[in-house]
Amino acid sequence: MASFADLTFLKSFTGSDTAKITKYVTMFLNSTPKCLEDIKLYHSNQDWKSLKTAAHTLKSQLKYMGVAKAEELATTIERNAGDQTNLDQLGALIPDLESITLQACDELKDELTKL
């Protein structure tokens, strides 16, 4: 199975402090489902400004959790919603973002048990 999350940055940033890694990953795991729900809701409501903001917030968190593929998708969603261009692509990008992010969340939960 492909690995989506990479804790290299967090380990380097914290000096492999497991308490801090656990704290940041747990915060990410707690906030991500709501963020994904918001993204789907704003897309169905065609609320592009809110969609841009939600994708922007998720993007920076994905960066620190090393979820590069989802970060790229969030960047594209943020740009398309912000510029209101290629909006027809969002219908495909958002399910991909959700799927990869949720798989990354499962991996991160596993990582927490190994720390």
Binding site: K20, F28, S31, S50, T53, H56, K63
Partner: protein, 173 residues
């Protein structure tokens, strides 16, 4: 010189980034660091005189009606002009950076892996800048008092010459 404020505020509605930045600054500086999830909360606590405020550009991910970073920046500069504001943003658009500087931001940091190191550097740069500013004020005051002293001495000599008292002084011819 006024004591440099060792208090830092972080204003960001992204709780993960705010916590990571708070932990990093606590570890790397000896400042007291407090974080707020909105600009409105930060403004309520400006009476604590933060020396530095790290302020996110977008603050409306939780509350759609929240003030944005530029509005908060302007309010901080009005209410607490001594506080230096460092803007944080996920975008590296030059115009955004220029706008924030126009409203008095000290620095602009693009969020990313290097943002924490850059924030730490900003703290030291601000500290050094404030110290230099304090020294410049002190030297300016010293120069002013020196000039007043010299002027007073010249006037005294002139008065002594005018009144003829100076020629009575021993060693004066």
């Amino acid at each position: 010189m006024a004591e440099l404020s060792k208090k830092i505020f972080i204003v960001d509605d992204d709780p993960v980034l705010a916590e990571m930045l708070r932990d990093h600054l606590v570890k790397m500086t000896n400042y007291d660091v407090t974080s707020f999830s909105s600009g409105e909360e930060c403004l309520k606590h400006l009476d604590q005189f933060p020396g530095i405020v790290f302020l996110d550009f977008y603050l409306d991910s939780v509350n759609k009606d929240a003030m944005d970073g530029l509005q908060v920046l302007q309010e901080i500069k009005k209410a607490s002009p001594e506080s230096d504001v460092v803007m944080l943003s996920g975008q590296d658009k030059i115009q955004v950076a220029v706008d924030t500087m126009k409203y008095g931001a000290f620095d602009y940091i693009v969020k990313g892996e290097s943002a924490f190191y850059r924030a730490e550097k900003a703290v030291f740069n601000i500290y050094r800048y404030k110290k230099l500013q304090g020294n410049a004020t002190r030297y300016k005051n010293m120069s002013l008092w020196l000039a007043i002293g010299v002027a007073a001495l010249i006037m005294l000599v002139m008065w002594l010459q005018l009144t003829g008292k100076i020629s009575d002084m021993p060693g004066w011819s």
